[in-house]
Symmetry: C2
Subunit: 277 residues, 2 copies
């Protein structure tokens, strides 16, 4: 990373998301601060932590290829102290790489993660999922986020259905949300912001019960269906997200979601296991 | 593990699945053989490898709780040489545990994995997914598996739609399968067989194109929606699996699947990222 880029990212004029993603140090061990802009009720928004993990790999000198599959496990609440991110290249194959990553604070592991990268060369391609029908973002009201934790205020969220306070309309199932989302202020999409957006759905239990109760992601998985070239060519900063739960059992539920560009490209599918009280 | 149980599992009279899951050694480093019964086209069926990973953790003396979320990354083809499985307990919280696991052959890492365990205490529970409608297993023909790799012959697969050779009926999307599956001979469900069943769907590309082409799972994630008590009370060995693809892009596609007990309990949701040529 050039000093120029680094300085720009550290600058107070940079986008809050880029300021939250500043990594110090070299490839083998990186350092980051926990951003006050993306604080959640307990610790930071997990989407930014996941984006930091992806960035630590993507900026590593041994990196080859682009993200295919990411899994991040959240072991406990992250404090305000510096984060140490250690990316480890486990295997380079002919066309892909396997990485494991740990995030620690004061020598305590807070996240474990795995990331598969690959060269996304052209081949037979098709999409079987259908983009959900939704009015254009300009025709949907933005969530008034003043009363929400800091991270929510970094996004423009426009709920078609399955919103929070007010509930807006109800989707096919009690927990289903359909929502336009964009960084606020707007920022061109890249693999880091896409990673964070995959975790920007409120816990499904909040939507189903229309109340906030203790809940937190324990494991997040993202499958990327685009590359940097795809993302760089997308004019709109808005993505359409659809999320729903599967089952709530024994203090954990699953969430299944899709992220579409405004022009109809499926960018990612993502799942998570979430603790609830 | 008592010697008695161990001896029974090693016995030639034991179920092929139990013979494939025999682990030697102690908690910190376990050894397993690659089962000829579960060979795939290149290397063993990934479902058995995943089940071995779960078993290495579940039989570890420090284990507390039951599986919630498993991710296994497959780094390359597994040879016929012995497997070394190293489970590492990263964190024990008040109600859950985070493990990382590696599977190696001759000091080369072949799989990395993470497993979250938790005490599945009673709490508010509900299911939002609906069980797909299907005729009873007894009314659906079994796949004739003689021409398939060995692992397929260890399962009774009864395709309602989205089968292979013949295609049977087509589901809602070209790649969708609805299939009853059971161990052959039948075996009571447990967390190990459930883990393997989550990987027992043919690659979606085979279903869509009705032809076999090079393809292999690079990352498998399973969310468990049951505990050992749930599984132990299920009378039927058959589970109903529904699987479909999301998008095929740049040599990787995603698969999303559900596993239901015959009596209508959602046992697991599972996703995977799959390489295709």
């Amino acid at each position: 990373m050039s000093n120029a880029v680094h300085a720009s990212q550290s600058s107070p004029d940079a986008h809050p998301f880029d300021r939250a993603l500043v990594l110090e140090g070299t490839g083998a061990e990186r350092c980051a601060s926990v951003s006050a802009d993306y604080q959640n009720m307990v610790g930071p928004f997990g989407g930014v932590t996941a984006a930091l993990i992806v960035k630590a790999v993507m900026s590593h000198e041994a990196r080859e290829g682009e993200p295919v599959a990411l899994t991040v496990n959240y072991l406990g609440p992250i404090a305000d102290t510096p984060l140490t991110i250690v990316p480890c290249l486990v295997r380079t194959n002919r066309s892909n790489q396997h990485w494991t990553i740990t995030v620690s604070q004061d020598d305590v592991v807070q996240c474990t993660a795995t990331l598969v990268l690959a060269e996304r060369k052209p081949t037979e391609e098709s999409v079987e999922l259908a983009m959900p029908q939704a009015p254009a973002p300009s025709r949907v009201s933005s969530l008034v986020s003043d009363a929400f934790p800091a991270w929510v205020r970094q996004y423009d969220m426009r709920f078609v259905h399955g919103g929070l306070f007010p509930a807006v309309a109800v989707g096919d199932t009690p927990s289903e949300s359909l929502v336009w989302m964009a960084d606020k202020p707007t920022r061109a999409l890249d693999v880091f912001s896409l990673t964070a957006l995959c975790d920007a759905f409120f816990p499904r239990l909040f939507i189903k019960n229309q109340t906030l109760t203790p809940a937190g992601t324990v494991s997040l998985t993202i499958y990327f269906h685009c590359d940097g070239q795809t993302l760089g060519a997308i004019p709109s900063p808005y993505v359409l997200g659809k999320a729903k739960a599967g089952k709530y059992f024994g203090h954990y539920f699953d969430q299944h979601a899709q992220i579409w560009s405004e022009c109809g490209t499926l960018l990612a599918t993502t799942t998570q296991a979430v603790y609830y009280k």
